[in-house]
């Protein structure tokens, strides 16, 4: 990343960006909302909301088979969204982009369709304690079903992946598959995904990269990354829930059996035999969530117009602003790296004497929205030996003023609990 991570100012015109998000002018319990739960889901700009309503108001029709204007227009917008996603990820073609509901469905698609045919008894699957449940449980269950073995890679005290363990696991042999996250949703750590992929591939493994927390926050280039599969969700990047994609090279998708069977993914059906549609439709059965996908296309337009490098820099600016202030509050423990290297704007912490749920509840009264819990990271919680953490996570529309309110809300919680 050629981004200065010590920026003393943000490169974004945040005021102008905020004006695009209707929800950001809302009040909660009489206070302006400070939405700091972006790792869970992002808010949506007017441009995305309108792109979706416009379909319904102007030219809604089922896609792909209608020989009439509405259907052709909607199909063009839907396939146009796919082109945008392909371009955004620097994919070789739109045929490498399969739309799914979310990153979770994407991982499961790969597990059912590629995994069941390729992972055998005795094979090893490498995963990490940083994984979101969505990129661990599908592999755990597949391993159980076929008799494969899961090898877990740990983190160091700073929350960084134990590269030595990763290398040793690959050296151990029999590693058929590696499931790694690009960016940890629990700690904000960015993994050296490109290096890990190269190392895994050199050892003969197939690699899936969970980019659910990467694609929204940094420029991700699938050709540069070199993985076999990459998944992400639209709802974390200004798009509606219900949008997301699996990327894979065409040759990989071609060799895979379909996942869901039904309308639109078939070519010819007879009682005896069915043949499949071309890519990417072979993997999209039934009526797509086409309005959500069109929303994703509008979100990509929005993010590109702002600039991914600037968004990343803005988040690091906020993280750099909040970390020292957080460290200054007595009784606060921060989990994960305290520097800005290889990091995104996710800050997990706990307040001594106050359970994260109580922290979040008191924050809510202050209009500050954060997440409290295990963040679908129970393996990480076990490693950190805490039941839960409080997590603040930033996006392009957040401000230092909101960071101040976060610190203020911690003071409020400490006051209520007398700690």
């Amino acid at each position: 990343m050629a981004v200065s991570v010590r920026a003393a100012a943000t490169p974004l015109d945040v005021g102008r960006i905020r004006a695009d998000f209707p929800i950001l002018s809302r009040k909660v319990h009489g206070k302006p909302v400070a939405y700091l739960d972006n790792a869970a889901t992002s808010q949506k700009p007017r441009q995305v909301i309108d792109a979706m309503s416009r379909v319904f108001e102007d030219h809604n029709a089922n896609i792909h088979r209608g020989v009439y204007e509405f259907s052709e227009t909607t199909t063009a917008e839907f396939e146009g969204a796919r082109e945008k996603v392909a371009r955004f990820l620097n994919a070789a073609s739109a045929r490498e982009i399969v739309f799914v509901r979310n990153a979770t469905e994407g991982v499961n698609l790969v597990a059912y369709s590629w995994g069941r045919d390729n992972i055998k008894a005795g094979d090893r699957i490498v995963s990490t304690v940083l994984e979101h449940h969505s990129n661990f449980v599908p592999w755990q269950q597949l391993a159980k079903d076929v008799g494969a073995e899961i090898v877990m890679i740990d983190i160091d005290d700073d929350g960084r992946l134990r590269r030595d363990q990763f290398t040793a696991a690959l050296k151990g042999g029999r590693v058929k598959f590696v499931a790694i996250t690009y960016t940890s949703n629990g700690l904000g750590v960015v993994l050296p995904a490109k290096e890990l992929v190269a190392e895994a591939k050199a050892a003969g493994a197939t690699v899936l990269v969970d980019a659910a927390q990467a694609v929204p926050h940094q420029k991700v280039d699938v050709r540069d990354l070199g993985a076999d599969f990459l998944v992400f969700s639209g709802h974390k990047m200004l798009a509606p829930p219900g949008s997301g994609a699996v990327w894979a090279p065409e040759a990989t998708f071609e060799r895979m059996r379909p996942f869901l069977y039904g309308g639109d993914m078939i070519m010819k059906v007879s009682v005896e035999k069915t043949t499949w549609n071309e890519l990417p439709w072979k993997f999209e059965a039934g009526t797509s969530s086409y309005v959500d996908a069109i929303g994703l296309g509008a979100a990509v337009d929005y993010l590109e117009a702002v600039g991914m490098d600037k968004i990343h820099e803005h988040e690091l600016f906020l993280t750099g602003y909040v970390l020292p202030r957080l460290e200054d509050v007595p009784g606060v423990t921060i989990y994960g790296p305290k520097t800005l290297d290889d990091r995104v704007g996710v800050v997990s912490f706990n307040v001594e004497g106050v359970h994260p749920h109580d922290v979040a509840q008191i924050f809510d009264r202050e209009g500050v929205c954060v997440r409290a819990g295990h963040h679908c990271n129970q393996l990480l919680m076990a490693k950190l030996d805490v039941p839960a953490t409080t997590r603040a996570s930033f996006y392009l529309y957040n401000t230092t003023e909101e960071c101040d309110r976060l610190i203020g809300a911690i003071q409020a919680a400490k006051k209520v609990f007398g700690v």
Binding site: H29, V354, H355, P356, H357, D358, Q361, I362, D364, R365, A372, G373, H374, Q378, M381, V386, P387, A388, V416, F417, G418
Partner: protein, 138 residues
């Protein structure tokens, strides 16, 4: 909110009543709310179908711990039948603070462990909703 962290709630949280081990307990039940990490172990000493004594150990949020603490005070001396009849509505009312759906499981974990102990269970029998105790989704 201010309503939620009332003094008596915080007091029960910080100074839980009937806290600790109960040597000689006849019925013990442990449960967790894995979604937020709340944990409670409830120990009863039952004699003549009555709750002769009760102690609990736990960790978790103020709501779960205060609710359990309040409940232990209430059940001491009650008959087993009375304890089994306590329902979620009663517990929520007794807490005396507004509980949002997201916190309901916290507020009811104490009751769940009391029931588990009263019925002499070792594991919860299926869906907590079906059993009419916990509710909603965490």
């Amino acid at each position: 909110m201010d309503d939620m962290y009332r003094d008596y709630i915080l007091d029960h949280y910080k100074n839980p009543r009937n806290s600790g081990d109960l040597p000689g307990a006849t019925n013990t039940y442990h449960d967790t709310n894995p979604l937020c990490g709340d944990e409670i172990t409830m120990a009863l000493l039952i004699e003549d179908d009555k709750v002769k004594d009760v102690r609990f150990k736990g960790r978790g949020c103020a709501i779960s711990q205060a609710s359990a603490s309040i409940l232990t005070e209430e059940i001491k001396g009650k008959s087993l039948d009375e304890v089994k009849a306590i329902d979620r509505q009663h517990v929520l009312e007794n807490l005396g603070i507004p509980i949002s759906p997201a916190r309901t499981k916290c507020a009811l974990l104490g009751l769940k462990t009391v029931k588990g102990a009263a019925w002499g269970l070792s594991e919860w029998p299926g869906d907590a909703n079906t059993a009419g105790i916990a509710s909603g989704k965490e």
